[in-house]
Structures are given as structure tokens and as C-alpha cells.
């Protein structure tokens, strides 16, 4: 809501006038009404008091004579007074003698009071007047006067005042509306003019003068002021244009300088005499990691933090140094700039004072550059040099004239010469005089672009010792790609050559003994085969003809003769068994007929069980098996394996009928089979010996030659597996063997 203060002057004037006249009228109206009401009330009371007094006097006789009729007549005279509502005469004892009630009136007479009194009650004014005879009160007259007349009169007055007020307000409004314009209009115009000037900046506007009073003076002053401003404005405009031209010139020059600075690859920062940054080019901003806006006005020391690379100590601000010395300063080496993200950048830098025309220093300029690439290159160079220097091999530089140009520690170690003894000297220094110096020829060919593979040769060391060396030569190029020399890596391989010789000798010896062994093995196998095979023949002859001898003996042979011949037969029989087992054993090592095939072990087991049927029936053995896998192998190998194990399990049974169980586990890369029995078991100390050919634990009471398990072991090992036994004496044995899943050679 707008406050009074902000309302337009015109409204203010109208409101002031109307408020003033309204308040005046209201105050005067109220005064008149109040006075009139007071006066009227006084008159009324006096009139009524007189009336009551008269009536009291007139009623004296009626009271004395206790005549209600005349008393009533007296009271009835009050009919003329329309505002008297009720009147009563009370005897002295308070009883009512007569009464008058205006028709339609609701109220009754109020009770008598002690003395003369005027009481104002809600119903109206009550007048009590004692009726006195000879100074004795004989009764009381009470009159009730309706107050309506007073308030009626007040309402009339109020209405009048209000009407006058409205009337005068209306007239005041009309008058003030007109009159305010006289004062307000010039001010409004002036205000308009001022608004127009301030919004359009058009100083040619003038306010209209409408009167010669104070407002007129004000308008005059305003217009004069505008004229003054206008002329100043024109001057300013002109000056501004001149300045703009000058500025454009300056900007152009500045732009050129800025572009120049921005184009410089180095970081450039200029400061004022206090060291506060005035300018930083893009490279500087980028190295400091701050925008120009963040840099401007900052003290250089706050953003340009530099430390010594090794000591990590803060390095003095170049600005401080420049200002102190007033001269160009280069910064110390190994300075590191610490950027905003703590990133460390090695820098090279220099500072210089900025002087005005009179030579007074008024600022500094700092130029610095990121040298990390150069430092990295230097580090790489150092690293390469260190690698060359620390190499165990001799790394030697040659120029194309056959002179040494570099000589590392490795070369010193190998050849015994120090670098200063060789550099600039010809390669013949270390040549082996017996074989001559091949280097000059080779270097000449390298100079012609030929390439050389690694080769071996001999060299003579400073001490005169001849050593074997392996040499690798590579051409050396200058920056234009021209061959300027060769690098040579020479390794002392004297020991290696000797070791290689020894190895070759050892190898040859090994090969010889291997061949010997193979031959021996072949001979042995052949011997075993021939022995078992061909020895059968004469044995058979001995047996059969011994038998024939008994049969064809002339007459009856004596018991001794028969017994001796039986010994011969028994001995040859035993020998034949041994030979036949030896043959079986030797055949496992030989190459079987045909090739390997997929052998179903379930079928093998079936055949073996069939072969042993008589033995199984005889002993009441039971053979159970898990489903067995199919193996790629020779069936001629697998049958004897299973047959020997099962036969043994039956042969070495306990008192119980043999129970044999065959199980198989597929492990990661092999099958593991187990043939478990409930037989007599094997003492721990014999568990390895039982696999030795012809090794037996039992005498003639249990038949056999002791070749069965040796055959089993030979079969399993031939397939790259292993066989062993786990046993508990008296409880049984479990023969376990493994067969690798895939093997090419069998």
C-alpha cells in the first residue's frame, strides 16, 4: 500500500484541505450539539421540577383527605405533557393513592423515595417530590419522564452536522481539486522534464515556466542547470571520441604485444614494483595452473613457488632479486616449480627489471620454461651411458679410420687397457697377432653400408693372454643419417667356448654310452628271448627222452634209476617254466605286433576271468569290478597285467574263499586302478622286492616262478604309470597302479 508520503502532490493537497475542513466542521458541530444538549437538559429539569412542585401542592388536599379521585384528576392534567409516561401519588406510608399512566405506556410508577430527587434511570428521568403540609410530609408525588426527547433532539442535531459536513466536504473537494492544480501542475511538468532528461539523456529538454512564484524560480534554475550540463556533455562527447581513437590505437598495439607474448613458447610474467602480477601469458598460466583472472594482482611469491630440486629448500623469488640488484638475473640450476596440484616441473628461468623512459625501475619481467623434456632426455642419455658403462660386455666405439673412439669399463675388464690407453689408438692394439687384425677391413665395409652378423674371433689382452670373443657390430649414424663409425659389443666367451667344448665331449661320450647301453639292452633282450626260446628245445629233448628212457628201459629200471630220472624230469620242468616266464617278461619289452587300439578293459577282464575259470571254480573265488574304462594300448600287455594280479590274489588267499574287487578312479591326468583281495597280505619289508623278476616270498608249496609282478610292473611302467602295493598282513593286499590318460609312446 502506498503511504501518504509517496502519493502525488495533488492528492496530498486535496487530502490536506479536506481533512482540515472536515476536522474543523466536526469539532464545531460536536461543540454546538454538546452545549445545546446540556442547556436543554437544564431547562427540562427546571420546568419539570416546577411542574412537579405545583402538582404536589395541588395534591395536598387530596392526600389529606385521602381522595384518590381528585388526586387522579390532578394527575390526569399531565395528559398535556406527552413525554410524561407515568405519575403516582404515594401516601406517607408508601401506599399508592392515585396513579396516571399514559395510554400505551409499559412502565409503572417507580416507588417513592425519601426526599426531593431527580434520578436518571433506563426508563427516563424520575422526579420525586414530597407533598408537604405544615412542614410535614404527608405523601410523595413521583413522575416518570421519558428520556426520548433528549436523544431525539441529539439525533436531529447529529444528522444536521453530518449533512453540513458532507456538503462542505464535497465543496471543499471541488475547490481543492481546482486549486491544487495551480500548485501541482508546474511541479508535475518539472518532474516530467527531469524524468525525460534522465531517461533520454537529451539535455536539450527544457521545463515550461508557468508562474513567477518559487516554482517559477525553480524551473529557471533547472533550465539553467540543463543548459550547463548540455554544453559540458558536448565537450565530453568530443573528448570521448578523441580518447576512443587513441584507445583503439593503444589496443591495437597492446594486442600485437599480447599476441607476441602469447606466441612465445616460454612463460612470461610481468609484475609491478611490489611484485604483484600485472600480466601472465598463456604458457605461464598453463604452467602455474591458474587463469589470468586468478593471477592478476596476486603477489608473484604466492603463485610462483620454486624449490631446489635436491635440497627441497625454497628458492628466493627472482623478482625480489631483480628488484634488489636492479639487473637481469638468471635463476639457479635445478629449480623446480610447484604447480597448483603439487605437480613439480623443472624449469629454467631469468628475471629482468622493467624501466620507464627515465630509467626508473617500475616492474619486473620473469621468463621461465618447462625443461622436463630436456631433463628427461638428459636422464635418458645418462641412463644409456650408465648402461654402457656398467655392462659386463665390452662396448667399444670405432671411427671409420679404425681408431677407438670410446671404451667402457667392461672393455677395461676384458682387455685390461684403460680408456685413455685405447681412445685414439688403432684397433691392432688388441688384435691377436697370430690371426691378424680384421677390424680395419670390416670397418671400411661398414662405412660402405655393409652389415655384419655376429661372429667369433680371438683377441689379445694387455697381459698378452689370448681370449675368445663374440663380436656384434652395428653402424653408428650421425643426425643426418650418415655412417660415422661403428659400435662393437665384445663378449669374453673363452669360458663358454671351453665349456661348450667340454659339453660337446661329454655329449659325445654320453651318446656313445647311450648307444652302448641301447646295444647292451638289445643284446640282453635278444639274449633273454633266445635263451628262453632256444633253450626250450634241448630241455624238451632231455625231458622227453628221459621219459622215454624209463619207458624203453631194458627190463625193469631199479627204484633208484626211476628216481634219478624223475629228478632229471623235475629239474628240466622247473627250468622250462623259468624260461617260459623269462620269455614272457622279455616279450613285454619288445615291440608287439600291430599298433595300439582302444582296449575295453571290461572285455579284457572277462577274458582273464575265462582263462582262470578252472582256478576260480576250484577256490570258490569271487571277482567283482567297477565299470572299467577303455584305454588306448596293446591288448597283449593288458591281459597279462590283469591276469597276473588276479591270479596272485587267488594264489595267496587266506582261509576264506578269495574275494577280489577291482576299482578305478579317474584322477586329473591318469586312471588309478586298484585290485584288492582278502588274502594273506605282504610284510612291509617285501612290498618293493616282490616286483623284482623271479623274486619269491614262498617256497615250492606255492607254485610260481616270481615273474608275474615283474611283468605287471614292466607293463605299467611302459605306459608311464606306477604300481605299488598296500597291504595288511593277514587281512589282504591292494595292488594299485596308474595309467596316464594320454601318452604317445608305449
Amino acid at each position: 500500500m502506498r503511504t501518504f508520503r509517496d502519493r502525488p502532490i495533488k492528492q496530498k493537497l486535496i487530502m490536506t484541505i479536506m481533512l482540515t475542513s472536515g476536522v474543523g466542521l466536526l469539532v464545531s458541530g460536536a461543540g454546538i450539539v454538546t452545549v445545546d444538549a446540556y442547556l436543554f437538559r437544564g431547562h427540562l429539569q427546571r420546568d419539570l421540577s416546577v411542574l412537579v412542585g405545583i402538582m404536589a401542592d395541588n395534591s395536598t388536599a387530596a392526600v389529606v383527605f385521602n381522595d384518590p379521585k381528585s388526586a387522579g384528576e390532578t394527575l390526569a392534567a399531565l395528559r398535556a405533557k406527552t413525554n410524561v409516561v407515568a405519575a403516582c401519588i404515594y401516601r406517607s406510608d408508601g401506599t399508592q393513592l392515585a396513579s396516571y399512566l399514559r395510554p400505551g405506556a409499559k412502565s409503572a410508577c417507580p416507588p417513592a423515595t425519601a426526599g426531593a430527587a431527580i434520578q436518571s434511570t433506563g426508563a427516563g428521568l424520575t422526579f420525586s417530590q414530597p407533598i408537604v403540609l405544615q412542614e410535614r410530609r404527608i405523601g410523595t408525588l413521583v413522575l416518570l419522564y421519558k428520556a426520548g426527547e433528549v436523544s431525539q433532539r441529539l439525533r436531529l442535531y447529529s444528522a444536521t452536522v453530518l449533512a453540513v459536513l458532507l456538503m462542505s466536504s464535497f465543496i471543499a473537494f471541488l475547490l481543492s481539486s481546482r486549486l491544487s492544480a495551480i500548485v501541482a501542475t508546474p511541479i508535475l511538468k518539472l518532474a516530467h522534464a527531469a524524468t525525460s532528461v534522465s531517461s533520454t539523456k537529451d539535455y536539450s529538454v527544457r521545463a515550461e515556466k508557468m508562474s513567477g512564484d518559487e516554482l517559477g524560480v525553480l524551473v529557471n534554475a533547472f533550465n539553467e542547470m540543463l543548459a550547463g550540463i548540455q554544453s559540458r556533455d558536448n565537450e565530453l562527447r568530443k573528448a570521448l571520441l578523441d580518447r576512443e581513437d587513441a584507445l583503439a590505437e593503444a589496443t591495437k598495439a597492446r594486442k600485437f604485444l599480447e599476441t607476441t607474448l602469447a606466441s612465445i613458447g616460454d612463460a612470461v610474467i610481468s609484475t609491478d614494483i611490489e611484485g604483484r602480477i600485472a600480466f601472465a601469458n598463456p604458457v605461464a598460466q598453463s604452467l602455474l595452473g591458474l587463469k589470468e583472472a586468478d593471477l592478476a594482482g596476486k603477489h608473484l611469491d604466492d603463485v610462483f613457488r620454486i624449490v631446489n630440486e635436491f635440497t627441497r629448500a625454497a628458492v628466493e623469488s627472482p623478482v625480489a632479486k631483480v628488484l634488489r640488484q636492479g639487473a637481469v638475473v638468471g635463476m639457479a640450476n635445478h629449480t623446480i616449480l610447484i604447480g597448483r596440484d603439487k605437480a613439480e616441473v623443472p624449469i629454467d628461468d631469468s628475471g629482468a627489471p622493467i624501466r620507464d623512459e627515465s630509467g626508473t625501475v617500475y616492474g619486473t619481467v620473469l621468463v621461465f620454461r618447462d625443461v622436463s623434456a630436456r631433463r628427461k632426455a638428459e636422464a635418458t642419455t645418462r641412463l644409456l651411458a650408465a648402461i654402457v658403462e656398467s655392462s659386463d660386455d665390452a662396448i667399444i666405439g670405432h671411427d671409420l679410420n679404425g681408431l677407438f673412439s670410446s671404451w667402457n669399463k667392461g672393455a677395461e675388464r676384458i682387455f685390461g687397457y684403460a680408456a685413455e690407453e685405447t681412445i685414439g689408438h688403432p684397433t691392432s692394439l688388441i688384435a691377436n697377432p697370430e690371426s691378424g687384425d680384421e677390424m680395419p677391413g670390416i670397418l671400411a665395409r661398414i662405412g660402405n653400408g655393409e652389415r655384419f652378423p655376429q661372429y667369433q674371433t680371438t683377441r689379445r689382452t694387455k697381459s698378452g693372454k689370448v681370449i675368445d670373443v663374440a663380436i656384434t657390430l652395428s653402424p653408428l649414424y650421425d643426425e643426418f643419417g650418415r655412417i660415422v663409425g661403428a659400435s662393437k659389443i665384445a663378449r669374453d666367451i673363452t669360458e663358454q667356448v671351453r665349456a661348450a667344448d667340454r659339453l660337446a665331449q661329454a655329449n659325445a661320450a654320453l651318446q656313445r654310452s647311450n648307444a652302448d647301453l641301447a646295444r647292451t639292452n638289445d643284446d640282453l633282450e635278444r639274449f633273454a628271448f633266445v635263451a628262453s626260446h632256444d633253450l626250450q628245445e634241448p630241455l624238451r629233448m632231455i625231458t622227453v627222452y628221459s621219459q622215454l628212457l624209463i619207458k624203453a628201459f631194458p627190463g625193469q629200471p631199479s627204484d633208484d634209476t626211476r628216481m634219478f630220472i624223475e629228478y632229471i624230469v623235475g629239474g628240466t620242468k622247473r627250468m622250462r617254466e623259468l624260461l617260459s616266464d623269462l620269455l614272457a617278461y622279455s616279450e613285454i619289452s619288445g615291440q608287439p605286433e600291430g599298433s595300439t587300439s582302444a582296449v575295453d578293459l571290461n572285455v579284457v577282464l572277462e577274458k582273464v576271468t575265462e582263462n582262470l575259470k578252472a582256478y576260480i571254480d576250484e577256490t570258490g573265488a569271487s571277482i567283482t569290478s567297477e565299470p572299467l574304462p577303455v584305454l588306448k594300448a596293446y591288448e597283449a600287455h593288458l591281459s597279462p597285467l590283469f591276469q597276473n594280479l588276479i591270479e596272485n590274489a587267488i594264489k595267496y588267499r587266506g582261509t576264506e574263499p578269495p574275494r577280489i574287487h577291482i576299482s578305478v578312479q579317474a584322477l586329473e591326468d591318469q586312471f588309478q586302478f586298484a585290485v584288492a583281495d582278502n588274502g594273506i597280505g605282504i610284510e612291509p619289508e617285501y612290498r618293493e622286492k616282490i616286483f623284482v623278476p623271479f623274486k619269491r616270498l614262498h617256497g615250492k608249496d606255492i607254485p610260481g616262478t616270481g615273474i608275474g609282478l615283474a611283468i605287471c610292473q614292466r607293463v605299467v611302467e611302459r605306459y608311464g604309470g606306477r604300481i605299488w602295493v598296500e597291504s595288511e598282513v593277514g587281512r589282504g593286499s591292494t595292488f594299485i597302479f596308474t595309467v596316464p590318460l594320454s601318452r604317445k609312446e608305449h
Partner: protein, 145 residues
């Protein structure tokens, strides 16, 4: 070379006289009326089965008994030569071997003909060879009929 039209002509390749003696006893035990042509050398045996040299006009025998291990050429070569000579193709063959080694047995069975007999290391067993020879001859006869 006692050739008799009625006698069963048996060609024996055997270098061991003991075995020849035993063979005769076995054939006698089986009551066979036979005539033996005995050759103890592999080369000579080859001549016989290829009907060369002095055997050029010898007719094929009723039966051949070959020892596997012979000087010069072994029993298998002779067996092969017999299969190659049409006149000898129908001649039943008993191959006697001094071992029962599977390798020897397989070598013979590869030809798919003849009977492999391991020379038994027992007199009574040896004499049973006569009966086996008799069976072979009977098979030949029934085969022809």
C-alpha cells in the same frame, strides 16, 4: 625217397633227429601207414615246395610237417612258398614249434592256414601229435568229398 602209392606221403622239415624219431613214434602210435620225406635244411625245403632242382619232378605230399626254426630259411618262408605254388596249395600243414610263445603262434596264424602245434615237453603229450596229424588228414579227405 621211398615213395609208395598206398602209403601216406608226409613231407617233414625238421633238423633235430630226436624230433624226427619222436615224430615217427607218434605217427606209429596213431597207426598210420606213411612214408616220410625228411629235409633238415631250409634251402632244400624251399626247393622241395617249389619243385626245383632234384625235386623238380617230385609230386606234392599228402601232408607237410614244418619245424619253425630251421637253418637258412625258417618255416614261415617255406609256408609262404607252399601258398605260392599252386600244386602245394591244397597240402595240409602242421607247424611244429619248440615254443608256445604267442609271437610264434601269431606268425603262423597270420597265414590263416595249417595247424600250429607246440612240441610238448612231455612224452605222452608228444605221442598225441600222431592223432592230430590223423585228424588233419581226415579233414583233408572230408574237405575233398
Amino acid at each position: 625217397m621211398e615213395a609208395n602209392g598206398r602209403k601216406i606221403q608226409i613231407f617233414v622239415v625238421e633238423d633235430n633227429p630226436g624230433d624226427i624219431q619222436l615224430l615217427r613214434m607218434a605217427l606209429d602210435t596213431a597207426d598210420l601207414d606213411y612214408a616220410l620225406t625228411v629235409v633238415s635244411d631250409g634251402r632244400e625245403a624251399l626247393d622241395f615246395v617249389q619243385q626245383r632242382g632234384k625235386y623238380a619232378h617230385t609230386s606234392p605230399p599228402d601232408l607237410a610237417i614244418l619245424d619253425l626254426n630251421l637253418p637258412k630259411n625258417d618255416g614261415l618262408e617255406i609256408l609262404a612258398a607252399m601258398r605260392a605254388n599252386g600244386a602245394f596249395q591244397e597240402v595240409p600243414v602242421a607247424v611244429l614249434s619248440s615254443s608256445s610263445s604267442p609271437r610264434d603262434r601269431a606268425g603262423v596264424e597270420r597265414f590263416g592256414i595249417g595247424r600250429f602245434i607246440a612240441k610238448p615237453p612231455d612224452l605222452d603229450e608228444y605221442l598225441k601229435i600222431g592223432l592230430m596229424i590223423k585228424e588233419l588228414l581226415a579233414e583233408k579227405h572230408s574237405g575233398r568229398n
